[in-house]
Symmetry: C2
Subunit: 310 residues, 2 copies
Amino acid sequence: MNELELIKSLVAGLPQNDSVVVGPGDDCAVLDCGIPGRWLLLKTDAVVEGVHFTRETPAAQVGRKALARCLSDIAAMGGTAAHAVITLALPQDFTPAYVQELYQGLNALAREHGVAIVGGETTTNAERYLVSVALTGWVDRQLCLLRSGARPGQAIFVTGELGGSLAGRHLDFEPRLAEGRWLAAHFKPTAMIDLSDGLASDLRHLLAFGGLGADLLETAIPVSRAAKVRARQSTLAKPPLVAALTDGEDFELLFTVATTRAVPLVDAWKAAFPKVRLSCIGRITPQPGLRVRTRTGVKEFGGHGYIHFS
Amino acid sequence: MNELELIKSLVAGLPQNDSVVVGPGDDCAVLDCGIPGRWLLLKTDAVVEGVHFTRETPAAQVGRKALARCLSDIAAMGGTAAHAVITLALPQDFTPAYVQELYQGLNALAREHGVAIVGGETTTNAERYLVSVALTGWVDRQLCLLRSGARPGQAIFVTGELGGSLAGRHLDFEPRLAEGRWLAAHFKPTAMIDLSDGLASDLRHLLAFGGLGADLLETAIPVSRAAKVRARQSTLAKPPLVAALTDGEDFELLFTVATTRAVPLVDAWKAAFPKVRLSCIGRITPQPGLRVRTRTGVKEFGGHGYIHFS
């Protein structure tokens, strides 16, 4: 049983109740609390030393990242974040200064987004730091964006630049909350997700709902400078395009819109977010699979990464 | 800087917002979401292998305990639990069967209390299992019970029996949700808390708000059978009364009521919860400190456990 099969078996058994509009499987849970016009969003995520950061990472960036990852999920629903609670697991050799710094980074980002930190639990985890964040948010019922609405022919967009996040951006990325709400309000994307596992993986989450596929255009994919630099520095590094397709932790927004909205969107975006790149990278197809159109032809992008990509 | 000082310094710096009715420092956060008559409750808690359970603990009991601890905090507000999200950190040698069993225990308890499990995150924690739960709930605005309302002269009550939880009850205790709501609706306690750190420590949390103290009656404190057995089995074990005062993880409700309500409460409780013991263990005093009246006189119960208790 692999990880995906395990998660699938777990999700199938989870108890639900009448208030659940969207349960596990989207960026956030969507909950009907009887508030006219609004739904409650709920999300949890964690960062672990040795996986998402190292002992050398400045503690303020660790705290910031722990919250930013959850904020990115609220952004992907078109929502506004509201309250967070924090579980902090500390190794035996923790220092109070580290914990205070961690909270400084977390608090600063919370303040930027109007999030109240309303509770926490501190516990022991002998070998390493672990920070788990649970975050609530609100979304207008008419403007809630799910992963499930992409249809054949629709245009695929992505914010920012992709790949090479490990060089630093995974610690200081900006969760796209304003962008997510603006998109929901003005261009109601048919589907949206935040990029945590890498463009190819996360795009497949959108496609899976309709048994759909996608044609991407190589030259349209916004490859980050970090991915290009890394490829130049080491022959062992992924080629830049592959990095943009498969590196995790970009935390950009990936979404689909009707083709008729694509050009107006590009124009309006430039005026609204002049500093954030927006790229139309391809379109949804009725044929399953992920294809990349390059100068030398169309290449199928395989199921589990870049092994079929030459 | 000790743990309490660290937490105090962290709590002082946490950002809040207009929706926060009660922030960090009570059993749950209390949030005003603009719903007439109701407040949202939010809580997080975690269990860690080696601290709250061992590798030998049946996985179903680990999952159950992780959720039950949070449910107990909702109970202490007089609330009803609604939605949970789970962070599960897995060691390198985890087995899918363990994870499935863990969720079976968690799901079964969630179903008992009508809680929907609406999301989760699975991550790696090389050496040990860790389960963090975040739980939402609802409470009637008129019936929300805080830690802060105890006044001199009021009677102190506790549900169930105390001490020796490590012998097994910490894995299968029943969160007192029905009892908490019933108390709030019929006898509106002036303060309530759930017992996680031990009677003496948690009672001090109630007393701290008003600079108050308490007189307890030795013969009224409901010592569990497990605490008595343990004391008989080992000369190194705490005396039973000390165990009842200082052992953690009882997860019973501790609360105060006006003295005029004490007798009617005891009568009504017997009819409502015939299987759950309720004990009036003493009263709140204007003099700070914790005193226990024994057969041989009144003894001061010291600040940091039982070192001043002979």
